[in-house]
Every structure is written in structure tokens, then in C-alpha cells.
């Protein structure tokens, strides 16, 4: 049992959740994730550890509501307990002093980017960060990111905040005026695909963090498999970060849709029961 000690909404559908998990808080590094199961009947879902405090024994998750489990999680309150939290999983991010680094985060991908930006800065890099979202309400963690970046650019699709345009426009703008040595792109699969096509144009080595469907997170099931450079890899144990230019994006997006029909039906049903309950 892991108690929720703090919860704060960043926007209607995105919240920060701080959890008691002393061992994980002690062992985690940037890039690690956990798998949680809310209750006996719950699904196991992966979430990146956005931050951690080994002294207090807590970890921070940033969760976007996209379906049943994330909705149930966001409906929980401070003091509530999550049945299972296991981790830290995956390889930590490879951090070194690359020189100048471009970090592009889209949507909830900003959460996993947080610890990476922090670690890159601490390793002596010059860090340029691009935050992107469809609209103003979806831009999260701006202040925290600014604090660890040399420069921060905000992009919104509709121009309601920062500059108007896609994440790739913000990336190009920086690439054209700075000599970028390394890029990290994290967000929805489609954004990572186009973000890495952009960096590829300029031959900038790029890492992405893949968010496939998972079950166990320990390499046991193969649900998370993707093709990397033509070879099948398991995201939970071989990743979650990979060389962006090696990823078979179309296959990955296809695999993420494996349960679409069931997920949508379950979500509709859930939303209806919630409405009835009110």
C-alpha cells in the first residue's frame, strides 16, 4: 500500500501525485518508471517517476487522464492508498555533458522530461527546452522546467500561449541559431516521430522515451515489444529510451492501438457510471 501524500491538478486532465514509496525514492534515477495497480481489479499501468525525495521517501508522478485507470487515479485524493507500486523500472537515462542539449516535451511527455532536464543541467549541459501542447491549459510544469533550463520556449497549436505552432517549429528555431549536440524528444508517439524527423535533418543524435502498452514491466510478457533497428526489443527492460532514428514508429503506433475498441468502450462505461454517481 502506498499512500498519496499530495495531489495537485495542473489542468483539468493532468495532475501531479506524490506517493509514499521509500525504497523506490531511494533507488530511482532520471528516466526510471513505476508500474502501479490501483486496486484488486485494476490494470497495471506504467508511469514515469517525474521526481523523488529520498529523505521524505516519496516519488512524484504526473498523470494524464486518457482512459479508465488514469481517470480512477485522478479521482483519488490525498490520504488514499494505491494497492501496488513497483519499480524503479527500465534503464535510467544516459546523462553526460553533451554540450548543448535540446529537450522537447509534448503533452504529458513533459513529466518524464522533468528529471532528465534537471540531470542534464546538473551535468553541466547548456539546456534548451521546448514545451508544447495543443492549448494553454495543456502546458504543464513550466516554472519547474524554466528553473533547470537555460532557455525555455513554449509552443501551442492554437497560439493561446507562447508561440503559435507545433513542437517541431520550436525545435527548428533553436537548432537554426544554436549548435545543438544532442536532443531528447518525449511525448505522444506521433510527436516523437515528427520531432525526431526534424533532428534527423540536422544529424543531431536523439533519444526518445517510448510509452508502449505494458503488463509486468520486468521483461516477462513481451507486450511492450517494438522494432528497434529491425530487431525486436522490450521497452520495459531494454528501454524505455532508445535512439530515435532506429525506432519503427508505425509499428509502435499500431501496437499501441491493440486494445483501442475495448479501452474506449470501458472508458465510456466508466464516465457514465461516474455521471450517474453524481
Amino acid at each position: 500500500m502506498n499512500k498519496i501524500v499530495e495531489k495537485e491538478f495542473f489542468s483539468e486532465n493532468v495532475a501531479k501525485i506524490v506517493l509514499e514509496a521509500p525504497e523506490i525514492a531511494h533507488s530511482r534515477k532520471a528516466g526510471h518508471f513505476v508500474i502501479i495497480r490501483i486496486d484488486e481489479k485494476g490494470e497495471r499501468i506504467p508511469l514515469t517517476i517525474a521526481d523523488g525525495d529520498p529523505e521524505k521517501g516519496t516519488i512524484t508522478l504526473v498523470v494524464q487522464q486518457v482512459g479508465v485507470t488514469s481517470a480512477k487515479l485522478l479521482a483519488m485524493n490525498e490520504g488514499d492508498e494505491i494497492l501496488d507500486v513497483v519499480g524503479p523500472l527500465g534503464h535510467p537515462t544516459h546523462i553526460e555533458n553533451f554540450g548543448t542539449v535540446l529537450c522537447a516535451g509534448g503533452g504529458v511527455g513533459v513529466a518524464p522530461m522533468m528529471p532528465i532536464v534537471k540531470a542534464l543541467k546538473a551535468a553541466g549541459n547548456k539546456v534548451y527546452t521546448v514545451l508544447a501542447g495543443r492549448t494553454k491549459e495543456l502546458i504543464i510544469l513550466e516554472d519547474e522546467m524554466k528553473q533547470h533550463s537555460d532557455e525555455l520556449v513554449v509552443m501551442t497549436d492554437d497560439g493561446s500561449y507562447g508561440k503559435k505552432g507545433l513542437v517541431t517549429a520550436g525545435m527548428e528555431e533553436i537548432i537554426q541559431r544554436e549548435k545543438v549536440d544532442k536532443a531528447f524528444v518525449i511525448g505522444p508517439a506521433i510527436m516523437m516521430k515528427f520531432g525526431s524527423l526534424t533532428t534527423k535533418k540536422y544529424n543531431i543524435p536523439t533519444d526518445v522515451s517510448l510509452n508502449t502498452i505494458m503488463v509486468d514491466g520486468t521483461g516477462m510478457c513481451g507486450a511492450c515489444r517494438v522494432s528497434i533497428g529491425g530487431k525486436t526489443k522490450f521497452v520495459c527492460v531494454d528501454g524505455p529510451e532508445f535512439d530515435a532514428f532506429e525506432v519503427n514508429w508505425d509499428e509502435m503506433m499500431m501496437r499501441m492501438g491493440a486494445y483501442k475498441t475495448q479501452e474506449h468502450a470501458a472508458y465510456e462505461k466508466y464516465l457514465q457510471t461516474v455521471e450517474k454517481g453524481e
Partner: protein, 495 residues
């Protein structure tokens, strides 16, 4: 081993045994037919998840026990990897001392209700029974009798809890809660150690829980054993990955004197053929985990699973049988086994193959997939098969399958389960840089003590054997418990 043999022979000399032997002529005993295990009707059971075998009644068990000749040289015991005193427990059943029979089994096997159900008896105890070897008759139903005794004890509410030595306050960690870990933990607790079992998943039991389906091994049965271990003082920590949540060093610093690693062979193999990553193609681990551990086929649970009309399962082992029979139960119209050799070479338990046949599973032997195709959404809709023929025996002694050129043809499938084997789980080896490993990724151990190249780390089960059986895993766990005990005692003596 010599001590066991002597003990087994000595117990044969007891008065009650002599009398029992005299009470019926050997001829009469051998003229009895083997009792058939009552089972659910195949056409009913292939639509539910209840256990297939219903278990012997007391009468059946007693009749079957009469068949056993209480041989002067009970070869059956040699076939059992943990050396159960088989004639003694069977004769106790004959004399209606069912609890005594259970106690006899439990001297060497901590999970008789499990082994009675899942051991490949036809290759072990029952293979070396006098009936099979010398009389060329169907052997004594040792597995069914073992299950009977264990179930009787459990249902009687008089489960015996083993004697526990006085606590010595020394901490030992067990990594993984599969049969090897449970066996090691049980024996270490009996020796007075303060044992904690760490398990990566949210459930205790390893493959017994996430792999083997309810219709073959109900979870309740495993849970009763685990509760018993709790009563013996064994502690369990779920959601804890040793090497990740905490390192071996962290745990050593917390006072753990030694480790037993029973982390299993949980890494699924794929065939690396084109199209294998399409949706609707699962590893057997994923498919069985979704259904067994996550209860995905129940509406009340959130985890989804796909349902197929035409399901192909690749492989011929227990895992393949469990997957194909699960698919049938979840509504498949065609549930097919695609196996590259013939029925004879199938590694699955023979009873499971029979059960699958009765449940209308189709067997396409001497076939192997070469490619998969999908619809516009990426869901598999066709597979290409190639016919095979058998050549000379290979290293495993089984005849090697050889593809027949030009024999390819396509069949419609909307779900595929790949059950072609597993590799050792790499998490522990990765977290211990200096651990000596084989080229196959298994941990190298001393076969007597189960000690690895790192003195305070012992290992057993599938992480050492690379995919074996429940009973072999348990045997390893028990050996390792002795190895750990000796290791710690020496360390304590040395101060």
C-alpha cells in the same frame, strides 16, 4: 540418497505394512484396473474455468492404493526427483490413514497438492513404477493419489504446520516466489531463520499463479500453502524487485546473511519471423498473465485481452497446451496447436494433451509458421505455414524437424500465441556484475549446495536449469536451504 533408500526400506518392515501386504494376494492386486480420474465433461469444461480433474473419492483412492505391491525395491521412488516415500504414503491410503499419507509426502515435498496435479508423472515416478517397467501395465496412479492425500488434508482443516526450530534471528532473503523460492523459504523457516521472500509481481506463487491456469491448478490451492508458510513465520514482500527496488548490497546492509535466487525463466522467446509484432500475436506469458493474473476475461477487472475465433498456438509444451485450452474456453471456434514435430515428441504432460484433444483442440503437427499477415489495423488475419518432416535425432534425442520446401500454405487466424520457450530472467544477473553465468544466461551453481560464484548467493529452479519443472525447482530450493544453512553456520562459527 543412501539414507533415503534405507529409510524407505526400513519403513517397509513395520508391522502394519507386513500385515497389509499379507491381506491381499499380489495376483489380486495386479488384476485390478487403474482407477480413472473423474473429470468434467469435455464439452462443458471447455467453456468454464473450473478444474478439469475432480479428484479421486475415498473409495477410488483406496482401491487404487490396493494395486500398489509395496515392492521390496520400490523403483518408483527413484523416479521422483525429491525422493518421496511413495509406497509408505500409498499404503497409508490403503489403510485409510489419509492424514498420515499426507504427512509422509510432506516429509520431502512441501507442495503435494501442486505436484500431484502438475508433475509429469509419466516421465518420473510412474515411469519407473514396477507396473510400467516389469508388468507392462498402466502404472499406479501415484500423482492422483498424492493429490488425493493432499486435498484430503486441506479439506479436513487439519493441515499440519511443520515443526519450527527456535528462531536464530538470522535473516535470509529469497528472491522470487515460484516453487523453488517457496521450497527454500519453507525449509529455512523450519531451521529457525528469519526469511523474507521478495516477489516482483503483486501475487505470490510465480508460474503457479501467473502461468498455469485455474482449470489445471486452482489458485486457492496455492494460497493455502502460502498461508501455511506465513504461519511458519515466512514474510512476503510483493512488488519488490531485488536488483531494482533495492540492490543485493542494500539488503546485505540491512542484515541479510544470504540469498536464494529463484527468479525463474520468465523471458519469452519469439521466432523472429516476419509479421510477428502484429496485434493479436502474444507470447504465452502475456496471454496467460492477462487471463490468470489480471483476470482479463472477467468484466469486473480492468485489464483487457483479445478474443479470437481462429486461434493458433505455436509449440507443444505445457505452456502451449495451457494457452490453447484457455483460448478455447474464451470462445475460440478453432483452437489449434501448431507443432513442428509429431505428437510423440511433444514435451507437454500426456494428460494435458489428452485433455486438449477431448476439448476439441485441433493438432496441426509437423507444421511451423513462417510469416504472419495483418489487416489494415495491424491485427493478424493470416499465417503462412510450412510442412515439416522428421530427420535424424538431434542433441535432445528427439528427431529433428526438417522443413519441406514448397509446402507452404496459408490459414486464417485472428489470434496467435507464441509458446516456443522461455529464457532465464536477466534482472538478477544484470544487477550482479561478477556472478558467473552460462552462455545461455543461467546462473552457474555447485550442484550439491546450489551456491553460485558469489559465496552468499545461492540459486535454483528455472534460473539455473533454464525452464524445467515445478518439482525440480522445489528440489533445488530444498538443497539450497541446506547449502545456505551450512554456509551461515560456518560463517557464524568463524565469527
Amino acid at each position: 540418497m543412501e539414507n533415503i533408500a534405507k529409510y524407505i526400506l526400513d519403513s517397509r518392515k513395520e508391522d502394519w505394512r507386513l500385515e497389509l501386504r499379507k491381506s491381499m494376494k499380489a495376483k489380486e492386486r495386479t488384476s485390478l484396473e487403474r482407477e480413472a480420474m473423474p473429470a468434467q465433461d469435455p464439452h462443458v469444461r471447455n467453456k468454464n474455468s473450473e478444474e478439469v480433474n475432480l479428484g479421486f473419492t475415498e473409495e477410488m483412492a483406496i482401491v487404487e492404493a490396493h494395486r500398489c505391491l509395496d515392492c521390496p525395491e520400490p523403483t518408483c521412488t527413484i523416479g521422483c526427483p525429491v525422493g518421496i516415500n511413495i509406497p509408505t504414503f500409498i499404503k497409508k491410503i490403503e489403510s485409510k490413514d489419509f492424514l498420515g499419507a499426507a504427512a509422509t509426502i510432506k516429509e520431502t515435498n512441501a507442495l503435494p497438492a501442486v505436484c500431484g496435479r502438475v508433475c509429469p508423472q509419466e516421465k518420473q515416478c510412474e515411469l519407473s513404477c514396477f507396473y510400467t517397467q516389469k508388468l507392462h501395465k498402466t502404472p499406479i496412479a501415484i500423482g492422483h493419489l498424492e493429490r488425493f492425500a493432499a486435498d484430503y488434508e486441506r479439506n479436513s482443516g487439519k493441515m499440519s504446520i511443520p515443526k519450527i526450530a527456535k528462531s536464530n534471528g538470522l535473516k535470509v532473503a529469497v528472491v522470487g516466489s515460484g516453487p523453488s523460492g517457496l521450497a527454500a523459504a519453507g525449509d529455512l523457516a523450519k531451521l529457525g531463520y528469519d526469511v523474507t521472500v521478495f516477489e516482483a509481481l503483486h501475487e505470490i506463487g510465480g508460474v503457479l499463479k501467473y502461468g498455469i491456469p485455474e482449470f489445471r491448478l486452482p489458485n486457492d490451492i496455492v494460497d493455502v500453502e502460502i498461508d501455511n508458510m506465513r504461519k511458519m513465520g515466512v514474510k512476503f514482500r510483493t512488488d519488490f524487485i531485488v536488483g531494482k527496488t533495492a540492490s543485493f548490497e542494500d539488503l546485505s546492509a540491512e542484515g541479510y546473511q544470504a540469498f536464494f535466487v529463484g527468479s525463474g525463466a520468465g523471458l519469452p522467446r519469439f521466432m523472429n519471423i516476419p509479421g510477428e509484432n502484429y496485434n493479436g500475436i502474444f507470447s504465452s506469458n502475456e496471454y496467460l498473465t492477462r487471463v490468470n493474473l489480471m483476470k482479463a476475461s472477467s468484466d469486473e477487472y480492468d485489464t483487457p485481452v483479445l478474443y479470437g475465433k481462429n486461434v493458433a498456438v505455436i509449440g507443444g509444451g505445457n505452456t502451449a497446451m495451457d494457452s490453447v485450452r484457455t483460448a478455447k474456453r474464451l470462445g475460440a471456434e478453432r483452437a489449434m496447436i501448431i507443432y513442428r514435430r509429431s505428437l510423440e515428441e511433444m514435451p507437454a504432460r500426456i494428460e494435458e494433451v489428452h485433455h486438449a484433444q477431448e476439448e476439441e483442440v485441433e493438432f496441426m503437427n509437423l507444421h511451423s509458421p513462417v510469416e504472419y499477415f495483418a489487416d489494415e489495423n495491424g491485427r493478424v488475419n493470416k499465417m503462412r505455414l510450412q510442412k515439416m518432416e522428421l530427420g535424424e535425432p538431434d542433441a535432445s534425442g528427439r528427431r529433428r524437424p526438417i522443413p519441406i520446401e514448397g509446402s507452404e500454405f496459408d490459414i486464417d487466424v485472428d489470434m496467435v500465441v507464441v509458446a516456443v520457450g522461455v529464457s532465464p530472467n536477466p534482472i538478477v544477473p544484470h544487477s550482479l556484475k561478477h556472478l558467473k553465468m552460462t552462455d545461455w544466461g543461467t546462473i552457474v551453481v555447485n550442484k550439491e549446495t546450489m551456491q553460485s560464484s558469489i559465496p552468499n548467493i545461492f540459486a535454483g529452479g528455472d534460473i539455473v536449469r533454464g525452464g524445467a519443472t515445478v518439482i525440480l525447482a522445489m528440489g533445488d530450493g530444498r538443497k539450497a536451504a541446506v547449502g545456505i544453512h551450512n554456509y551461515i553456520q560456518e560463517k557464524v562459527k568463524a565469527g
